[in-house]
Symmetry: C2
Subunit: 197 residues, 2 copies
């Protein structure tokens, strides 16, 4: 029965299913420990099919990272309407909830992006640049986030701060509720931008 | 002549010299590319001596990272006297100047700490924890930096922000002078702490 259910998936659905499984496996394993063999076994598919879809281990890693990055980007889409700071809060809430729900996998991806090859790094950088871009599209008048090189520099650094803040908070919440954390993250960006000359 | 000069060094001086050389070589090579053979060749010493001092490649890496971390800690020592924010500024100035002067080596160490084994990670974490500790010793009354778990969480995240800010600024200064950068870094910490509930 299971095999029949599987074979009814379209190639795209099957591919997505394998990527989701790869990301879930990252929750308890590092990128180094994740192998085509392990994935094929867990998914109940042949190694040949894995190679057919991903071309090899490196191609699979990149596809898993890209899939996770696309997922993160989709889940942090701000509402189409609203004040810039409200839209920022909605987007940040999506980010925090995503990281909390996928902590181990997210840590693996950060580590893979830092340690890994240029392709993984590029996916990570492109994703965070796309997330940063939202500040300017959410605030086209530049009232809160004027689009200057200095503000872009600060947003990049604030993203690094937020990543560290959420991951550290997951380990040890330091008396802060999820709402406290969201409030610190949201309020700190305009506060840091205010320190620019 | 050179060989004679070398042999006059004490074992401690020789070891320090090798660690300095290792750190300088990291400016243009990753940890992976740095080998005992290369270092022995550059230093004009035997591989046997390298193994005698460091026990192998991993021991050498750890010694280089620990040496760089100790150096960073020493160079960022705040003045013994002064207002907390002035002492913070002096300490941050030391950090920024160190990273700017040792950019490539510093990037290698960050990458090694993120990707590497637990020993490298522990040296990195211990160093940043020691740097953070200074905020509380510089402000024993807790006027600017009350010693609470939430403030410690924020300082940890702010350190990640500062690291990203300085490294990104090295690549592209975004119209900010060194003084502008120092001012953003120094002023942002109290501003972020103010966002705590």
């Amino acid at each position: 029965m299971t095999a029949n259910t599987r074979t009814r998936l379209s190639p795209d659905e099957r591919r997505t299913q394998l990527l989701d499984l790869g990301f879930r496996l990252l929750a308890t394993r590092s990128l180094d420990e994740l192998s085509i063999d392990l994935l094929a076994e867990e998914a109940g598919v042949s190694r040949g099919l894995m190679y057919h879809y991903f071309g090899g281990k490196q191609g699979f890693f990149e596809a898993v990272v890209q899939h996770a990055a696309d997922d993160l980007y989709a889940r942090t889409a701000p509402p189409a309407e609203g004040e810039p700071l409200e839209r920022l809060l909605a987007s940040i809430t999506g980010y925090v909830d995503y990281v909390v729900a996928n902590q181990a996998g997210y840590r693996s991806l950060v580590k893979g992006a830092t340690a890994g090859n240029d392709s993984l790094r590029a996916i990570y950088d492109t994703t965070f640049a796309a997330l940063a871009e939202r500040f300017f599209t959410a605030d086209p008048g530049g009232d809160v986030f004027p689009d200057t090189p200095a503000v872009r520099l600060v947003i990049h650094a604030w993203q690094a701060m937020v990543e560290d803040l959420v991951l550290t908070w997951c380990d040890s919440p330091a008396g802060l509720s999820r709402e406290d954390l969201l409030s610190v993250i949201t309020a700190s960006l305009p506060a840091i931008i205010d320190t620019l000359p």
